[in-house]
Amino acid sequence: MGEFFSIFIDSFDVFMEGMWLTLRLSVVSLLIAIVIGLFFAMLKISRVKVLEIIADLYIWIVRGTPLIVQIFILFYGLAEIWLIPEFWAASIGLAFHSGAYIAEIIRGAIQSITKGQTEAARSLGMSRSLTMRRVVLPQAFRRAVPSLGNQFIIGIKDSSLASFIGLQELFGVSNTMGSNSFDYLPYFFTVAIYYLLIVLILTIAVNQLEKKLAVSD
């Protein structure tokens, strides 16, 4: 136990760097994923059969294959087309993955906005896209906050797989330090504590945000 404690202290600085990378990865991939999710959610509600099928296909592929396979395919596959740094390969890979889940979240949220809202906007002369942008999406996003928050937490945990394409994020740090010291366990316990902390803080933050958004409702 004393040994574990001293390992915890000694490794603090290195883990903080890993944490910083984990957070950057998660936030960047979340932002990209929201764009992807929004795009495919739009396809899904477009009422154009072909576009719907494209969106379904994307979602099916993401849900039907392990994340680690997706990350590796993007890592090697993208490299053949255009060379991007690991950070971006990982971010895009993670975003490609959670984008499918976010597409479903957003689609659900959009469809939960009543037709009355759209009609009111249209009757004021607002165009279809203006209505979407100014009336439907702001409300849908607000409703999607809890699910998006949840997806973000999943994204943070998923970002651990980025270590396998060489990124020294939290899990990568624990793996490297463990393998260098030939004693993995204390480092994996340490990293578990860091993840639990991040997730705990985020869960609280998401709950707060939810409460705050509820005020105007």
Binding site: Q117, A121, R122, S123, L124, G125, L130, D217
Partner: protein
């Protein structure tokens, strides 16, 4: 006496939903400053007719002429047409994520490109007019139904429409709140706004209405001045309907 300006003309309008034929050969004329009241049993097609006038539904057949221009969905910019025709819904449909003032200035800024300052000034004037001068920054969820409906009216007026359509604007309200909304509508009528109103409020129809149209099963059965329709209906069905609701 000059011929009054014709704001809406509907000719042989037909509309179906799938197999369900909802409107049959509707003819209707609304002149400037007229208040036309549409009455009829549930399902008779009143809302559908109103929604066709605002192009929230598309006619199958017939003509809709707004301010002299025959409007077709495929050749006209409907967003432009809709700016001339405001609509107020039974369930208000305020934007819950915007304040009262935000609801009112949204379309003028986004659609008309009005400056925020100008839109705010005009919006406040309209809110004062409908008696909500103290609610600018409140969110809709904090308002009573009657207040919500008055915001909805102000919101529609902010686009400076030539015609206002009302689809049962008071029927989702608690009885004690109906009065304030009807009062607002009455003022509007008195100021010369052209209005088409679907309502079951016969007192309003009689007092404010210039013309009453009774619909049944997708057809206009009888129309005329309020006194005539209410006191001397010609058709049996009209009589039966009026008996049932009064």
């Amino acid at each position: 006496m000059t011929e009054p300006r014709e704001m809406i003309r509907v000719e042989k309008l037909n509309k179906s939903f799938g197999d369900l034929h909802v409107l049959f050969d509707i003819d209707l004329k609304v002149n400037e400053s007229d208040v036309v009241v549409l009455i009829g049993a549930s399902g008779s097609g009143k809302s559908t007719l109103l929604r066709c006038l605002n192009f929230l539904e598309f006619k199958d057949d017939g003509n809709i002429i707004i301010e002299g221009e025959q409007v077709e969905a495929d050749t006209h910019d409907l967003n432009k047409v809709r700016q001339k025709v405001g609509m107020v819904f039974q369930h208000f449909n305020l934007f819950p994520h915007k304040t009262v003032l935000g609801n009112v200035i949204e379309a003028p800024i986004q659609v008309k490109g009005m400056s925020k300052k100008e839109a705010t000034k005009e919006g406040k004037r309209l809110l004062d007019k409908v008696g909500l001068g103290d609610k600018y920054d409140v969110y809709p969820s904090r308002l009573s139904g009657g207040q919500k409906q008055r915001v909805a009216i102000a919101r529609a007026l902010a686009m400076q429409p030539d015609i206002m359509l009302f689809d049962e604007p008071t029927s989702a309200l608690d009885p004690e709140l109906v009065g304030e909304v009807l009062e607002t509508m009455k003022e509007l009528g008195n100021e010369g706004m052209t209005m088409v109103v679907v309502t079951h409020e016969m007192g309003f129809a009689r007092e404010v209405g210039d013309w009453v149209v009774y619909m049944n099963e997708g057809r206009i059965v009888e129309e005329g001045k309020p006194d005539q329709i209410f006191d001397h209906p010609k058709e049996e069905r009209t009589k039966a309907f009026l008996d049932s609701i009064l």
